[in-house]
């Protein structure tokens, strides 16, 4: 716990030394911090008169309250072991007609992949929303989600620094106008990563490993190709995102090595959930959840026969990729 009296009696430089992350907090405030480093908060606050505070929309009481809250959140966040999620369990609820789901529990372990299949509108999004919201029989499906086998605190719902689920989907784009390096620095800082440069290099290497065509740290993110963007998003989510669960909505079969992408995610101890109807992706999963009429209809383990089929499908996929490469380089195709 931080006491308010301690805060207001400390100088800015002391506060920043003790809590370096406060830079982000002070930057958004009404007063410039640079020339006031040796003043105490009390001195600074009493120097803001009524007119100035109205002018810059500053309220000292709210400021202190939020400062305290921010420090407490950050302390909690930094003290946490990031990899403490081992499993998610889904306990049954009902489908759209109110019929009970016919399973005891669906377990999703870290470093495993679960695919989700079912027609559009069947309730895939609702299932994912239940997980994200850490449902406790209080959503339309009545499902309950356990973390590590226990009913978790509702903190997962509200704390912005620790969301349970990270999402990757086809229609996501980079919208910031930054170079890859700058972009990753920004993300790393928001996460307060200690060894920024090492992590950034690791992400760029991993992304280049996934994408067919390499890009440089100086490449602007908005000029990356579709495959490169996807690769960077996946590598960044695997390595830098705090969320232990990663939800993927299809991965396009172009410009990216999908198998390696999934391996990267499970290598970083993520629980991977993947909505897909692509047989290659679906069979790469350890199990698949079949959704029907808003409910979990079945949970299937990927059978040995399916795993054998995967080998055949991957071979066919390689042939197709090979033809694509040839076409691109201007060659004539021969019958294979």
């Amino acid at each position: 716990m931080v006491s308010t009296s301690f805060l207001i009696q400390s100088s800015l430089s002391d506060l920043l030394e003790k809590y370096p992350y406060l830079h982000a907090f002070f930057e958004g405030q009404a007063f410039a911090i640079e020339d006031r480093m040796h003043q105490t908060l009390q001195q600074i606050l009493s120097g803001i008169d009524e007119e100035a505070s109205e002018d810059s929309a500053f309220d000292a009481t709210t400021f202190l309250l939020q400062l305290k809250e921010y420090i407490e959140q950050m302390q909690e966040f930094l003290g946490e072991d990031q990899h403490r999620l081992n499993s998610i369990s889904i306990l049954p609820g009902t489908d759209k007609s109110g019929t009970s789901e016919q399973f005891e529990v669906v377990e999703l372990h870290k470093s495993t992949i679960t695919s989700i299949v079912g027609p559009t509108g069947s309730g895939k999004s609702r299932l994912l929303a239940d997980i994200e919201w850490v449902a406790r029989a209080d959503t339309p499906t009545g499902r309950t989600i356990l973390v590590n086998g226990e009913l978790p605190s509702t903190d997962w719902r509200f704390a912005s620094a620790r969301k349970l689920v990270a999402q990757l989907s086809q229609n996501m784009n980079f919208v910031m106008d930054l170079q890859v390096q700058e972009f990753l620095e920004l993300h790393a800082r928001s996460r307060m990563v200690a060894d920024e440069q090492t992590v950034i290099k690791k992400i760029i290497d991993a992304a280049n490993d996934l994408a067919g065509e390499k890009f440089e740290p100086q490449t602007p993110i908005t000029s990356l190709s579709g495959g490169q963007s996807r690769a960077l998003m996946i590598a960044d989510t695997a390595i830098l995102s705090t969320s232990p669960v990663v939800l993927i909505d299809e991965i396009e079969n172009a410009g990216i090595d999908r198998k390696r992408a999934l391996q990267l995610l499970i290598g970083e101890e993520k629980v991977v959930l993947m909505a897909t109807h692509d047989p290659i992706l679906a069979l790469m999963a350890d199990q698949r959840i079949v959704i029907k009429n808003g409910g979990i209809h079945k949970v299937l383990k990927t059978s040995q026969e399916e795993k054998n089929m995967l080998v055949v499908l991957e071979e066919a996929d390689r042939k197709l990729q090979h033809l694509r490469t040839k076409l691109r380089s201007g060659e004539q195709l021969q019958r294979i």
């Binding site: 982000a24 929309a57 939020q66 921010y70 999004s125 912005s160 999402q167 919208v175 920004l186 928001s190």
Partner: protein, 231 residues
């Protein structure tokens, strides 16, 4: 009746989020009504009507939209009470980033979108800083990293708010938001004597009174000069 105020920059998705959330409440039998405050033009009332939500709209025209809001919110509340709503939602656009249409002890939601740029949270004043819940929209079209950076910027500006991600098009997250909005134990019967969370942007100069000519000699009242000497 419960009252909540929703505000946010134009086109951030306030109406979409409000309607999706209201729909999930109505499915649970909560009677919802809405008021849309805007400046010059809105056809959002049609969207509310289409969703079956009784709605009134108010255009501030040549007045400061926030001043217009605060001078009318009491009458709006009376309308809501007369209509027997369980929940009345007041939606208003924050047009100058200094807006603060929040009332003490009345739940306040700020809606901002991921596309607005990562420095935007710092530019928005009390509308974001003093909200109880911050809803971030348009997350389905930006990367996970950008969502995380944006949310952390919002958190740095308002650490006490609950931050929620909602897709205004599909309604993902709207059910979850709805569980935080309606409390049957709360009864707001009057706003008389209640206070705003923060003072509104003020001005009373010759231009407020209709002056259109440019020049020192036409400027009277509350006038402020830009400082061009600052380095």
């Amino acid at each position: 009746m419960n009252l909540i105020t929703i505000s946010g920059p134009p086109s951030s998705g306030k109406t979409a989020v409000t309607i999706k959330t209201a729909e999930t409440l109505m499915q649970r039998g909560v009677k919802v009504g809405a008021v849309k405050f805007d400046c010059l033009y809105t056809d959002d009332d049609v969207l509310y009507q289409r969703a079956g939500i009784p709605v009134k709209k108010g255009l501030s025209g040549s007045l400061c939209p926030d001043h217009y809001f605060v001078s009318n919110i009491e009458a709006v509340l009376d309308w809501g009470l007369k209509e027997n709503f369980d929940l009345l939602i007041s939606e208003s656009a924050g047009l100058c980033n200094r807006c603060s249409p929040y009332i003490k002890d009345i739940k306040a939601i700020c809606v901002i979108d991921n596309l607005s740029g990562i420095n935007t949270p710092r530019k928005i004043g009390p509308m974001l800083r003093m909200a109880d819940i911050v809803v971030i929209t348009k997350g389905d079209i930006v990367s996970q990293a950008e969502r995380e950076v944006f949310a952390s910027r919002v958190n740095a500006v308002n650490p006490t708010a609950i931050v929620m991600h909602i897709n205004g098009l599909t309604g993902q997250g709207a059910y979850e938001l709805s569980t935080l909005l309606y409390d049957e134990k709360v009864h707001i019967d009057s706003l008389k004597g209640r206070k705003l969370r923060f003072s509104m942007p003020s001005a009373l100069c010759s231009y407020c009174l209709g002056e259109t000519r440019i020049g020192e000699s036409y400027q009277m009242g509350n006038v402020r000069k830009i400082n061009l000497d600052e380095k």
